[in-house]
Amino acid sequence: MTQTFIVEVIIENKPAARDPEGETIHKDLILKGGYENVKSVRTGKYLKFLVEAEDEKHAEKIVFDLCNALRIYNPVVHTHKILVKGG
């Protein structure tokens, strides 16, 4: 029996790598807007998949494999997080 799962993928630049977009938002929008208590902003990419699979593990694997095969992220510069939500 297959079920439909929601699989979320969050892709960010590696912690040691820069994020010019986040830096700009932080410097030009947030700090200039007076939110001094915000210490940094990082941007990323968020993808939400609806996947038919036997179980959560399988759903995660399908998405993990396709992200690698299609180079949706590049492990050299990006980190990725995969979250599976129930069917």
């Binding site: 630049n13 590696k14 040691a16 790598a17 820069r18 994020d19 010019p20 700009t24 180079r71 590049n74 050299v76 510069v77």
Partner: protein
Amino acid sequence: MVKNKPIPVKVNLTPKEIRMVRKLLGREPTYVEWGMFDIMWSEHCSYKSSKPILKKLPTSSPKVLVGPGYDSGIVDVGDGMAVAFKVESHNHPSAIEPYNGAATGIGGIVRDILATGARPILLIDPLRFGKLETGRTKWLFRYVVKGIGDYGNCIGVPTVAGEVEFDESFETNCLVNVACYGLVRKDKIFLARFDKPGDILVLIGGATGRDGIHGVTFASKTISEESEEDRPAVQIGDPFTKKLLIEAVLEVLETGYVDGVKDLGGGGLTCTTSEMAAKGGTGVEIILDNLHVREEGMNPYELMLSESQERMLLAVNPEGLSKVLGVLEKYEIPYSIIGKVTDSGKLIVKFKDEIVASIPPKYLAEAPTIKRKAKKPLNLEKLWRIKKPKEPKNFSEILYKLVSTPNIACKEWVYQQYDHEVGVRTILKPGDSDAAVLRIIETGKAIAVKADCNSRHSYLDPFNGGAGALAEASRNVVCVGAEPLAYTDCCNFGNPEKPEVFWQFKRGVEGLAYMSRKLRIPCVGGNVSFYNEDSESKIAVKPSLVVVILGLIENLDGLVTAAHDCSKGGLAIALALMAIKGKLGVKVDLSKIPTSKPIRMDELLFSESHSRIILTTSTKENAKQILKIANKKGAPANLVGKVTDDDNFTLTFDGRKIVECSVTQMERFWKETIPKALEVR
């Protein structure tokens, strides 16, 4: 005997070099000093293998203002103006992260031009990839082009020319070369050196982070599986900050208070400070605690070796410091005052009130050269004696096939992603002609620019490949009416520790030097990228000695309506491309083509012999005059055919039809190849 203590950090120096470092300093270096020697004596920073060979290139002419040894070559283009230009490779970063690798390659070269005081006015990108068949190559090709387009377009510098070659030897190691040209008034040229003790050092631009530490030692190794996992973080391009940096630097230099300027690239702060002090015969004192940083807790080793992007170093006259800082603040460019130029003759680095390094700059900047062994590859003789294939029958079919091969096919998919007109100087764009032409608005003259290399020629015959690259590049600028003034070269080779690879390099440069002397076109700079080799397959890239040329057009009129040189695919392809671009037919009698001896039909059509140009002109009288001029100069020339107002591409030999193709059909094949391979449109 006292044993040496183990070095506290990993260094890539040879045992002999390690002994030399100890002997030079007369003591055990600190770990920071080990790092500094490691990076400065790497192949990438020191050119230790290539320097003795590169000396063979002629480097001067009355027009050369600054030759090799500085970041960019600078050439006089008349009326008080000069052009600074430079080429660099960004092969290794692009092979693992094509988008940011290519983008930051442009970032680096633009900073080099900026450091001469010139405003960057154009970019050229010679690219080489594996066969356009594998997923990996398509991924690299797509994102390298996108990286160049996005970055170049954002900083407002047009990408006006380039070349793309596909060959299986570039499968893991794609070659991404980037060239930038800038315009500067002759009396406003800056040199990257510290001349005046007492000048204040201001580090401007991006904050220093841990990114790219040991990027250059990485570029001095081959790409391995290990580097997949354990490689340094690739730089992320930041074009909008770069645009601000360009404007801020040009304005800061206008103040008259800056005595020296250089960008921070490979080798980071270590390379910039040691080279500038070595050139000026001065010393430097740096206080690392003052650097603006992106990460907490960085140690002096990391601070001295970091290759964070978008940074430049200024040596500022103390009297004008507040004025200079005012300009930086206006553009919101971060900066820090990191030290001063001294007359100590030493590069002294302090951190937390402690001296962590103290080295005479020239020890770092002048690495010992290595005499590499060169040996002709064994298989070459065999390749030279390869049997000619049987002469084919249907030449029309072959022509259709040739225009569809990726190496000859239309590269519109590439250059349509680049803004080639921003800056309003561009007269001839990519695809228009053999070279790009840009106006020097300030003087009413124009410059012609182009990059060329034929890696297959170089593979089979490095000497003639190197010579041919310059011959082709100069032909290309001549075809748009320019006189070639100078060139810079980008050498892309495999592992120089292999005698066969080093032989290719040596012969390539010798060929280039030969052509350079014969044509009297000097070399004003260059870049060498070694270790372009897959560590698993042991396949090195085909030797690729890319020539990037500068030509000057004094007068934009002429007798000629169109000119095209014969290169890849020879005469037949040159004619076909002229027909396709003009959307007109061609009728040529091949028996009229000047040949040195009778040759086979396939050779007549497709030989890639150098130094041949096809010209068209509007009247018979003009044609006669052209022949007269050619005759006077001793250049073989003949009237071979005419342009027709139809769709027929017809080549005959003494009345016998050899090729009969439709121009629109050829155009369709020529245009569809690359979009088809990439599954776009």
